[in-house]
């Protein structure tokens, strides 16, 4: 297997250089497997995405089934795209490029297999639990604790395989792509672990250890950096390998790549609070988030410019080579999204854009454009190489390129329009000083045609994807898979006077790099989060804010289960337009018992912070059974099963005990008496409904949800 040619030459008196040619094989099987999973889950994720998009136009597509309602399958779409499509895509890209820049096979074939199958099992468990309503409600971290532990374990397997490969490399230097991969591994591990801290109630139910403001800060520190270190750094790493390969020329500036690597990972970690502007988060944390978000444009554009300038003098190739076309649009989309990000973090723009479809458009320019197109470019480049053949059809790839590009435009433009229009409608007052659109629903029905247009964009994009699947399948069919690719590398080893290989010095480097990345990304987290945890004592406590009753607690869990937070916020910003519409603005002291926080990030429906007491019980009963009966034109799904399903109270006391251990002041007496207290409150609601001629049993789920909704935001009114 290993052929050695020794050419020793005297360097200095006591030093020798040994030159050997080693033959070995690259593992293409893992790359193919991850690649295949990327394509399969890309199809699934996009189909679910198109379904949720259409549900907003045709609510009948919720099918009146719990498992297919928007609130439950929107997280399925985001998880499928982020962790299944993009996740498998980055693993395929990393496994291919890492072996080549390190000139070695992956560290361990067994770890590669465990990583692959473990990750697919995690995806499978997500696909089962999310439609069942088993969720933590925290965005892009919805999976419950046993799955979280599995993710952590498999991530460590990936990490060992990654670092192990870098350590046993034959190339003395670590190419910049690998730096990005190391930062990805380290940071995602930290983010995932800290954001997932939860106290289990049962096998598939837990409560976040953080509450309210702290939970929100940790969640968006995670959420924003999931974008940074799952959707960005691995892609930049892949860009630094695949773009030079596709264009057959080295990267424009290696120095720039180092500079933007360190600045990017340093700055990104601070930017999370821009997701919480005008919220109850302390002002200084918000300002910090804004400043660092604006600064982020520099390293982001550094990466984009480095990519695009690599093609200088070779733009003629772009018109002929479809992989380069995809790459150029991908980098352009990255540039657009990273220009828009800082803009959106400016308070004045955020005031209009936040909670609207503008953010949805922003995210999709990144996901469809940057992530999607780069994965397509890599797929078109990689599949022919893995199968030792040429691409089946260049013209079909071109068709895909245009369908995809038009798809992105048809998706993004209506969503920008919808976001801008709705954001302004929410803020508009008549000359008399009252809200011009006091009925929230009116602002929704006005954007529905734009939702329809967006679905057309999504359909174009999906159609292009299907064309690619056909093209790649045909390519694979005409070639033969190269499971183990034979190659060789020249290895120079300097032997010093002690007889030690200086190669060892470099062996330490990946660890050094890992530790440096860890320190750099930790600074932001430490400066932001530690003081915020201290704020606990500084949150102005509101005496009238009390823990939820047992029934309300169960109702809140149903709110989480049905994913209500996907469309309804619980955060009234301190604007006149919001306080006029919803009531007093939200204060941090109101959330101290909220494990997890439920502020939401998108208002497809109105804010529910002060929903309590706004309508009678009967209104909620009819509205949940059939939303259009109370709000004609509403696109909210019907929740008729809540009327039928018996409320599961087997864990109520366990839930209160967990809450107590997290600092919620439930007394032991109250916990012991929980079932009686729950029954009493349920009976009172049932009696109230009966007076309105509604017959419903007190032990049904709808009673708990009504109890929770009627409690929302009422505590401060008692003051």
């Amino acid at each position: 297997m290993e052929q050695t040619t020794v050419l020793t030459a005297p360097m200095a008196a006591k030093e020798m250089i040994e030159k050997r040619v080693e033959q070995f094989e690259y593992d293409n099987t893992s790359v193919r497997n991850f690649g295949l999973a990327t394509l399969i889950f890309g199809l699934v994720g996009m189909l679910v995405g198109l379904t949720v998009a259409l549900q907003l136009v045709f609510p009948v597509l919720n099918f009146d089934l719990p498992y297919t309602t928007f609130g439950r399958i929107r997280p399925l779409h985001t998880n499928a795209i982020i962790f299944a499509f993009v996740g498998n895509g980055i693993f395929a890209g990393i496994y291919y490029s890492l072996q080549r820049v390190c000139r070695t096979r992956m560290y361990s074939d067994n770890l590669s297999k465990i990583h692959f199958w473990g990750w697919q099992l995690i995806i499978l468990s997500a696909a089962i639990t999310l439609p069942l309503g088993i969720t933590t409600s925290k965005e892009y971290a919805e999976l419950e604790w046993p799955i979280d532990i599995a993710i952590a374990l498999i991530w460590v397997v990936f990490g060992i395989n990654l670092i192990g490969t870098i350590i046993k490399r034959r190339e003395k230097h670590i190419y910049v792509a690998a730096w990005f991969y190391i930062a990805t591994f380290v940071t995602v591990a930290i983010l995932h672990i800290f954001n997932s801290f939860a106290f289990p109630v049962s096998f598939l139910k837990s409560y976040s250890v953080y509450a309210g403001v702290q939970d929100a800060l940790v969640q968006w520190w995670y959420g924003h950096n999931a974008v940074a270190f799952f959707l960005t750094t691995p892609f930049l790493g892949m860009m630094y390998y695949f773009l030079p390969k596709m264009a057959n020329r080295p990267i424009y500036s290696y120095k720039l790549s180092i500079l933007h690597f360190w600045t990017l990972i340093f700055l990104y970690i601070w930017a999370g609070p821009h997701h919480l502007l005008y919220s109850s988060l302390p002002d200084w944390v918000q300002s910090l988030g804004v400043v660092f978000s604006v600064m982020l444009i520099a390293p982001s554009w550094g990466g984009m410019i480095n990519g695009l300038l690599t093609l200088r003098g070779a733009w003629d190739k772009v018109s002929e080579d479809v992989t380069l076309k995809f790459m150029v649009v991908s980098l352009t989309a990255y540039g657009m999204a990273t220009f828009e990000g800082p803009l959106l973090s400016l308070k004045s723009i955020n005031a209009i854009a936040h909670f609207t479809d503008w953010v949805v458009a922003h995210v999709h320019v990144g996901a469809l454009g940057f992530n999607g197109f780069m994965l397509f470019a890599i797929a078109y480049w990689l599949v022919p190489r893995l199968y030792n053949t040429n691409l089946y059809s260049k013209s079909l790839a071109s068709v895909h390129f245009w369908l995809g590009t038009l798809g992105i435009l048809f998706y993004a433009i209506p969503m920008y329009w919808a976001g801008f229009m709705q954001g302004l409608m929410w803020q508009e007052f008549t000359p008399e000083g009252v809200l011009r659109y006091p009925n929230f629903l009116e602002t929704v029905t006005r954007v529905i045609p734009l939702y329809a247009a967006r679905s057309v964009g999504g359909t174009f994009y999906l159609a292009g994807f299907l064309v690619m699947l056909y093209n790649l399948a045909k390519t694979a069919q005409k070639g033969s898979f190269l499971a183990n690719e034979k190659t060789e590398a020249t290895v120079y080893t300097k032997i010093d006077h002690k007889g030690e290989y200086w190669h060892k010095v470099f062996e330490n480097r990946p660890i050094l790099l890992m530790i440096s990345s860890l320190i750099v990304v930790s600074i932001g987290g430490l400066v932001q989060i530690i003081p915020t945890l201290l704020i606990k004592s500084n949150i102005p406590t509101i005496a009238s804010v009390q823990p939820y009753t047992p029934l309300e607690l169960e109702g809140r869990d149903l709110y989480i289960k049905e994913g209500c937070n996907n469309c309804h916020s619980q955060m009234i910003r301190p604007f006149r337009s919001e306080t006029e519409r919803y009531g007093t603005y939200s204060k941090s002291g109101e959330y101290i018992y909220d494990h997890p926080f439920l502020w939401g990030s998108k208002r497809t429906g109105p804010d529910l912070m002060r929903q309590g007491g706004k309508y009678p019980h009967a209104w909620h009963y009819f509205h949940l059974r059939e939303s259009t009966s109370m709000s004609p034109g509403s696109i909210m799904p019907n929740y008729a099963w809540l009327l039928e399903n018996e409320l599961d109270i087997s864990n109520t006391q366990a839930k209160m005990k967990v809450m107590k251990s997290l600092g919620v002041p439930y007394s032991d007496t109250r916990i012991n008496n929980a079932r009686n207290e729950l029954k009493e409150q349920a009976d009172a609601i049932t009696a109230n409904l009966k007076a309105e001629k509604i017959e419903v049993k007190p032990d049904r789920e709808i009673i708990a949800l009504i109890a929770y909704l009627q409690r929302l935001g009422t505590d401060v009114k008692k003051e």
Binding site: Y240, W262, L267, T490, I535
Partner: protein
């Protein structure tokens, strides 16, 4: 905004200044390091994905 907090939470300006200062020092450190980077090494590093280093 939220004067109610800020009244109770003082001394956090320092965090803002400190954060920016840490970044500035960090940035200068990398810039200086890059300035003194060996050109030959940069050329070598650039070409790692292209296998040119191993054509000999």
């Amino acid at each position: 905004m939220f004067k109610q907090h800020l009244a109770g939470v003082t001394g956090f300006d320092a965090y803002l200044i400190l954060s920016l200062l840490i970044f500035l020092l960090f940035f200068i450190g990398i810039a200086v390091r890059l300035f003194f980077f060996d050109k030959k090494e940069i050329e070598y590093l650039k070409n790692i994905p292209l296998d040119k280093n191993f054509d000999n």
